[in-house]
């Protein structure tokens, strides 16, 4: 064989294997939507997505996915409040504040936390956090605290606030969206921190030097120069972190409580979308309506993470072109 032909053959085969990931992605999308199509066709898109009753095993069954979607939204919001500041704070600390030794110690640690098995996090939430919440925190917050507040005899505090604590801070079960969000925060911190850290490190040193030479101190430089310069990278970190939270399965399956109802308060139980798939797929008979409905949930999840990936890809692409343009 002539060497040119051989080279050509190698190039063709390498390129075709390179295309495999495209094919896999297309296959996943195609397959999910193919299996999901039937439920949307049979029940109607609006009725499935906004229906408020998820009773897949009743007779006749109800496939309103709104409680599942609401569960995911609630858990995601609650987690974001904790995970975004913690993740970005970790990144700022590692990239800007920590000295070399601490940095070399913290970075691998964050990486380890990133590959920590989520089933162990769920287990920890079940065995430790949930009992703490229901057996220890609940009596303090919903019994002792209102009593103390009532004894103050102040206007407002002894009446409205005390009643609020009595009603709302009672934790019936430790398996609720707060516990789930706490564990999801542990899951999301390393994701947000590692991407955000890359974005912060990519800010040219000259920016910081210019800021210092104008007399700005460290915090001023971070807040007014480094963060604005890396804001697109930081938002990519946040978006991908949110994607992780939405798709995380084991934690919400084990500690979110599992009730397929719309949560109204932070101590309510919920059944987010991944938990519904994981919990019910084993019992759903092949090709039954329930099976198709679960693929419908999967398709919605896929679509959400797909859109999030696209947005973050768009942002980072735009950001890169800007950065090359103003390269120092």
């Amino acid at each position: 064989m002539k060497w040119q032909t051989k080279e050509r053959l190698v190039e063709i085969s390498v390129s075709s294997i390179g295309l495999l990931s495209v094919i896999v992605l297309l296959l996943i999308g195609f397959f999910l939507f193919k299996e999901a199509f039937y439920i949307f066709y049979k029940e109607g898109v609006i009725r499935v997505i906004f229906g408020s009753q998820w009773y897949p095993t009743h007779e006749p069954p109800d496939f309103g996915m709104f409680p599942l979607i609401a569960g995911t939204i609630a858990v995601t919001l609650l987690t974001s409040i904790m995970a975004i500041p913690l993740g970005l704070g970790t990144a700022i600390y590692i990239a800007e504040v920590a000295n070399h030794k601490v940095k070399e110690f913290l970075k691998p640690l964050i990486e380890m936390l990133a590959s920590f098995p989520s089933v162990v996090l769920g287990f920890f939430g079940m065995v430790i956090i949930a009992p703490i919440l229901s057996n220890w925190l609940s009596p303090i917050l919903s019994e002792k605290l209102p009593e103390m507040l009532r004894n103050t005899n102040l206007p407002f505090i002894s009446t409205t606030l005390a009643d609020f604590c009595y009603d709302k801070l009672f934790i019936a079960s430790g398996l609720n969206i707060t516990t789930a969000s706490l564990m999801l925060t542990v899951r999301a911190i390393p994701v947000i921190a590692s991407i955000a850290e890359d974005a912060l490190t990519a800010v040219p040193r000259t920016y910081r030097e210019a800021s210092y030479s104008l007399g700005a101190d460290k915090w001023h430089t971070i807040w007014k120069v480094v963060i604005p310069a890396s804001v697109s990278g930081l938002s990519v970190a946040v978006i991908l972190g949110i994607g992780t939270i939405i798709g995380e399965t084991m934690i919400v399956l084990m500690v979110a409580g599992g009730a397929a109802v719309v949560p109204h308060w932070i101590f309510d139980a919920a059944r987010p979308m991944p938990a519904a798939i994981a919990a019910e797929m084993a019992e759903a008979p092949y090709k039954s309506l329930h099976y198709h409905a679960l693929f419908g949930v999967g398709a919605i999840l896929f679509l959400i993470t797909f859109v999030l990936s696209m947005i973050s890809d768009f942002i980072s692409r735009k950001y890169r072109s800007v950065r090359i343009g103003e390269k120092v």
């Binding site: 190039e11 390179g18 990931s21 397959f31 970790t90 800007e96 590959s115 162990v120 084993a282």
Partner: protein, 299 residues
């Protein structure tokens, strides 16, 4: 002398002090936030180690479960996870490395490169439970593998593919251009250069990525839940078409679905400990390898 500067001095000092307080406050806030992840990791690790060590024994690791899993060891469970991980890596490494070679050496800017990059990026963000659904539909049912070692490994392989591709690509791109030029100047063809020069130079980096990938794969539960995992199987599977037990799934099942949740608590702790040790050992190995390479690199 009463110049304007001097008159302003008290005011300036006050401003400076205020700034210092502000800076001090925010920097210490950032310091606290920065250690949150580390502290949480430490807390969870000490919980698992403290409870797990009381169960751990030679019998626990080398014997199968008995009495409806309330007693005995977890030998088949450990073997299941090891087999799943090894088979997954055997499947994914060739594909991942070749895709990385395509991206680093053969691709030209254009629609094809863009779509490959986009797919890898998107695949990396797909939730693991969605991979599980895909594996169930395609490998278990359509290709008729059944709930099996093979179906689970293939599902895991697809899940970890983007990670393997990106770490391999990074390793390939770190090979200096002068190496390639030297090889090409000696009359080697492009493929000879890649095969004899680029790949061997990048191999340590590729392996490090693979080891870190192993750590991620061995802890995953959702993708194998309906593709590979069995509630109970007596021993090591004899073929790839048999279901296996796996450490993460074992923890989940014993902690939530079993009829003896409280009685099996010690076994749950022990299983969690074994899983954590495997995952962290792989992680540490990868991190140490990477540090060594960075030190050894002569170019």
């Amino acid at each position: 002398m009463h110049t304007i500067e001097n008159m302003n001095k008290p005011f300036e000092l006050a401003c400076k002090r205020k700034l210092n307080i502000k800076q001090g406050f925010f920097l210490s806030l950032i310091r606290t936030l920065g250690f949150s992840g580390a502290i949480t990791l430490f807390l969870i690790l000490s919980f698992v180690f403290y409870n797990g060590f009381q169960v751990l024994s030679w019998e626990f690791i080398t014997e199968p479960p008995i009495d409806a899993m309330t007693k005995g060891g977890i030998f088949p469970v450990i073997m299941g996870t090891i087999l799943l991980t090894i088979l997954c890596m055997v499947l994914v490494i060739p594909v991942g490395v070749i895709t990385a070679i395509f991206l680093a050496e053969y691709s030209k800017p254009g629609v094809m490169l863009k779509s490959v990059m986009m797919s890898i990026y998107t695949l990396a963000g797909v939730p693991s439970v969605v991979f599980g659904l895909f594996g169930l539909g395609v490998f278990v049912v359509m290709l008729n593998f059944g709930t099996s070692l093979l179906a689970g490994s293939m599902t895991l392989a697809i899940m970890i593919l983007p990670y393997i591709i990106s770490t391999s690509e990074e390793a390939l791109k770190a090979v200096p251009y002068s190496f390639k030029e030297a090889s090409l100047a000696c009359g080697a063809t492009k493929w000879q250069t890649i095969w004899k020069v680029v790949l061997p130079t990048a191999m340590p980096g590729i392996l490090t990525g693979a080891i870190l990938g192993t750590a991620k794969v061995s802890g995953e539960t959702a993708p194998i839940m309906f593709t590979a995992a069995a509630f109970f199987s007596p021993g090591v599977p004899r073929s790839v078409f048999e279901p296996v037990m796996a450490l993460p799934y074992h923890i989940y099942v014993l902690a939530t679905a079993g009829t003896h949740i409280e009685e099996t608590r010690p076994i749950q702790y022990g299983t969690a400990l074994v899983l954590i040790v495997i995952v962290l050992a792989m992680n540490l190995l990868g991190i140490i390898l990477r540090l060594k390479q960075r030190k050894k690199r002569a170019w």
